[in-house]
């Protein structure tokens, strides 16, 4: 792999037009990635999902070459037509369209940035891989006091021209004081057997609000990884919602630093799987100052041969008194062959805190099914009703009514 990856790297950036310092920085990340390789189950964070093995089994040999020079045709049929929105369209990892036509152009700044090494923290080797191969970095800044009129949808699409590719997407967001952004990540894949690696960096200034909805709902045979790194200032709010059910494998990671007092973070997730799918949500919420709050709710419904993992961590620094942290994960196992693994973790160094977590997994309640069937529903209907009731809890946590309806429609839940 090592020789090939170097050749792919040279080939990718030969004609990219990036400055030499940028390419050299990227090379450093490449070397770091080559040193560590894909994470495997020996690493605590990858204990339940050995991505090295998963890639090997599902894709085999990966090609790292990314063609950033030739453009792809946009398939407009994948666009969400239920709600008006701004768009950024990625096709095979290349930005094909950026459209903020609903917004005040002066209030949104979009620029390509270069980074210095010190800006990028050491997360894991997948982030290194992303830094090495993602093309120019777009930074989207929302100006002070501006609230986007329409949500921004980022389309992560691939077409059937590519196979066994590693695709790396990287964006930075900065929300200035009192601003707000609704961001929908929408996965739609025509391709199969690719590895899609997304890395977002969020900077939330005082009183800003970020709502990020990650939707992976259409069945596909790709392997996905998404990492959100969120830094929050005073009184800012981040709401993360994850609908995880489409890809063969998907791991969503959220690392959230609550740096300002009265800031809060919410993570809500639904995992519904069947047929050999394997998804994971891993969160790490770091309460670093006084009076911060976090809330996490993850629910999974697992069909035949599927496997879901939830690893959630609440860290409370010794200065972070009056922290309120909550974490709940629930899973319904529908089949003998389904599996649910959880590691809800608390690491607490302050005494005046309210932190708790709960985790439960089991089968559908036979008594409830009996109750519904005695009211005239058949077995299948009763089962569906119970499952829908189980996950609608999480959808109701979505604070934006437009998006809430969109998600409900997507998974076939009526109003």
């Amino acid at each position: 792999m090592n020789e090939q990856i170097k050749i792919d790297f040279e080939k990718t950036f030969k004609t990219s037009g990036l400055s030499e310092t940028d390419v050299n920085l990227k090379k450093k990340f490449l070397d770091k990635f080559i040193l560590n390789g894909f994470p495997n189950k020996k690493l605590e964070n990858w204990k339940f999902s050995d991505i090295n093995q998963i890639i090997h089994k599902n894709i085999g040999e990966l090609s790292f070459f990314s063609d950033y020079s030739s453009s792809n045709k946009i398939d407009t049929s994948v666009f969400i037509d239920e709600l008006e929105h701004n768009k950024i369209v990625f096709i095979n990892g290349r930005v094909e369209k950026i459209d903020f036509s609903y917004e005040d152009a002066e209030k949104i700044k979009l620029n390509e940035t270069s980074e210095t090494e010190s800006e990028i923290k050491n997360f894991n080797s997948l982030v290194d891989l992303n830094n090495a191969f993602s093309s120019r970095i777009y930074k989207i800044s929302i100006k002070k006091d501006y609230h986007l009129k329409k949500p921004l949808v980022i389309y992560h699409t691939t077409n059937n021209k590519i196979k066994s590719k590693s695709i790396n997407i990287r964006l930075k967001f900065e929300l200035d004081q009192n601003s707000s952004l609704r961001l929908i990540d929408y996965n739609n894949h025509q391709s199969e057997k690719n590895f899609i690696n997304i890395f977002y960096d969020f900077e939330l200034k005082k009183n800003s609000i970020l709502k990020n909805y990650k939707i992976d709902n259409d069945h596909n045979k790709n392997i996905g990884y998404s990492f959100n790194n969120i830094n929050q200032d005073e009184n800012s709010v981040s709401e993360n919602f994850i609908l995880s059910s489409g890809s063969s494998f998907f791991k969503n990671e959220i690392n959230c630093n609550l740096n300002g007092s009265y800031s809060s973070a919410f993570v809500n997730g639904i995992i519904t799987l069947m047929n050999d799918q394997h998804h994971e949500i891993r969160t790490s919420i770091n309460h670093l100052v006084e009076n911060t709050k976090s809330y996490q709710l993850i629910k999974s419904v697992l069909g035949k041969d599927s496997k879901a993992v939830y690893q959630g961590k609440i860290f409370v620094n010794s200065e972070a008194q009056k922290t309120d942290g909550y974490q709940l994960s629930k899973a319904i196992l529908l089949d003998e062959s389904s599996e649910f693994n959880a590691k809800p973790e608390l690491e607490i160094y302050a005494d005046d805190v309210k932190c708790s977590h709960g985790s439960a997994s089991g089968s559908l309640d036979e008594n409830s099914i009996f109750y519904l069937m005695s009211r005239g529903l058949n077995y299948k209907q009763s089962k569906e009703l119970l499952i829908n009731g189980f996950i609608v809890d999480v959808i109701d946590k979505i604070t934006d009514s437009e998006v809430k309806n969109l998600v409900k429609n997507m998974i076939g839940l009526k109003e």
Binding site: A331, S338, F340, A342, E345, V353, H357, S363
Partner: protein, 486 residues
């Protein structure tokens, strides 16, 4: 005003620790194996204990494996590197060379030590209905109540005696739960263990009294490697108590015991521990390293193993008493109170491995940390795909006192069976001002109030202890936390 009060109680706390209640040592000359760990030392241990050939083989096998193993380092409490070649692996009180026939023949100094500890060795034993197998350093000193137990066919003796007299039983079961191929410390123990307790309860017998062993660590620089094996044959019941205190020492002492429990069909084993070893001084200097491997196997149908532990001592506690629920309908339970103060560190919890159908497990863990201490609950609930209709309930609560200490919860939950139910809850909080205020208003001092509230917090676990232990444990909970509030 409040600040002043804090200082006051902190000082009191330090004063108390200075005269650690059990901090004395007895002057007895020791026989020691040469320092260091090699095959000769293992042969020396085996030789001096007049062990049969198979036992030496067991040890050497373990040692061979030990040489290939690396010391684990994933645990939260880190400790300075231990030089395993710088330890004595065998030491015995000199007067033990010829085994005494009765209590009167014992070294009077030893008897005095036990008296200070309050072990009811003679008349007290009978009054309290406890049979005591007192262990001084590594060799059993006296076993009382033998007659009454022998009448029922119960074997309760030291491990060395068992190896000689009940070789078949030991050979059949030793190493079946903790094999010689286990982790670093367990394997070390398999290679060099010196003594311990052996219990065999025959079919259908309900052990008429609580069996109890007190451990003492005495000789300086001696790692103590105990090995306990308890076998409950079909339909039998036994309750076993283990309690520990140790003299004050400056150097860190390693303690890596192995405890194996085996419950056959319909049998029940209840294992209770009160651990109050020297925790080091107020600056975190000294204290015992308590790296113990405890594992129970519910081998037969409808068997039950229940662990109860009160951990207040040791500089570092690193142990996970576990249950392997192999038999159908078997039950595993784990009740734990862990208290850390000053610079103590604990990483403790349990593993419940469900293999049989309809197996049930319950975990109640209460952690209290104060001062500069650090406490971690780490547990595993693993439900195998064959463990149909099994269930687990876990509750771990932590109480923090002050913002210099830490409390962590790291549960691993694996469910591979759709018939099974797992529920896990954990909370972290502090003693509320309102509760303290309420108690103080009714005339309790702040320390009494804390003691009362903490005892209430731990009640679910304390209830599980046998009467004799519950009283001691309740006192310990109070003593361990005195002065930590303010």
């Amino acid at each position: 005003m409040k600040e002043e009060f804090k200082m006051d109680t902190r000082e009191k706390d330090i004063e108390k620790l200075k005269d650690y209640k059990y901090g004395f040592s007895t002057d007895i000359e020791n026989i020691k194996a040469p320092k260091g760990l090699n095959e000769d030392v293992i042969k020396f241990i085996s030789d001096i204990k007049k062990e049969p050939e198979w036992m030496l083989e067991f040890r050497l096998n373990a040692f061979k494996r030990f040489k290939e193993l690396k010391e684990p380092n994933w645990q939260k409490p880190k400790y300075p590197k231990i030089d395993y070649q710088d330890l004595y692996y065998y030491s015995a009180p000199k007067s033990m060379k010829d085994k005494p026939k009765s209590l009167d023949e014992l070294d009077p100094k030893l008897l005095e030590t036990y008296k200070k500890l309050g072990i009811p060795l003679q008349e007290q034993a009978r009054l309290n209905g406890i049979a005591v197998d007192a262990v001084f350093d590594s060799v059993s000193v006296a076993t009382t109540f033998k007659e009454e137990l022998t009448k029922q066919g119960i074997i309760f003796c030291s491990m060395s005696e068992a190896i000689q007299k009940h070789g078949d039983l030991v050979k059949k079961y030793l190493g079946t739960v903790i094999p010689t191929t286990d982790h670093f410390f367990a394997t070390l123990n398999s290679a060099v263990f010196t003594d311990g307790s052996f219990v065999y309860i025959p079919e259908g017998v309900r052990c008429p009294m609580e069996l109890s062993t007190y451990f003492r660590i005495n000789a300086s620089e001696t790692g103590q490697f105990e090995r306990t094996l308890i076998i409950a044959d079909k339909g039998s019941y036994v309750s076993y108590l283990e309690g520990c205190t140790a003299p004050m020492r400056d150097e860190n002492q390693l303690h890596a015991a192995n405890v194996e429990l085996i419950a056959l069909d319909d049998a029940e084993i209840k294992y209770s521990t009160v651990q109050n070893w020297y925790p080091g001084d107020e600056n975190g200097k000294g204290g015992i390293y308590n790296f113990v491997t405890k594992r129970g196997l519910c081998k037969g149908k409808n068997s039950k193993i229940s662990w109860t532990q009160v951990e207040t001592g040791s500089a570092i506690t690193w142990k996970y008493p576990s249950c392997i629920l192999k038999g159908d309908n078997s039950i595993g339970e784990f009740y734990s109170i862990a208290i850390t103060n000053n610079h103590q560190k604990a990483d403790t919890g349990t593993k419940m491995i469900h293999l049989g159908k309809n197996t049930k497990s319950k975990i109640i863990s209460k952690g209290i940390s104060a001062g500069f201490s650090d406490m971690t609950y780490r547990g595993l609930v693993d439900i195998n795909s064959k463990a149909k209709n099994s269930s687990n309930y876990t509750q771990c609560d932590s109480l923090l006192m002050g913002n210099k200490c830490g409390a962590h919860t790291v549960p691993y939950i694996k469910n591979k069976n759709f018939d099974s139910n797992i529920a896990h809850e954990a909370t972290t909080s502090k003693i509320s001002e309102e509760q303290l205020h309420y108690c103080q208003q009714r005339g309790l001092s702040s320390e009494e109030a804390v003691g009362l509230i903490v005892n209430g917090f731990c009640k679910e676990v304390l209830q599980q202890l046998p009467m004799e232990f519950a009283v001691e444990a309740q006192k310990l909970v109070g003593i361990s936390l005195e002065g930590s509030v303010g």
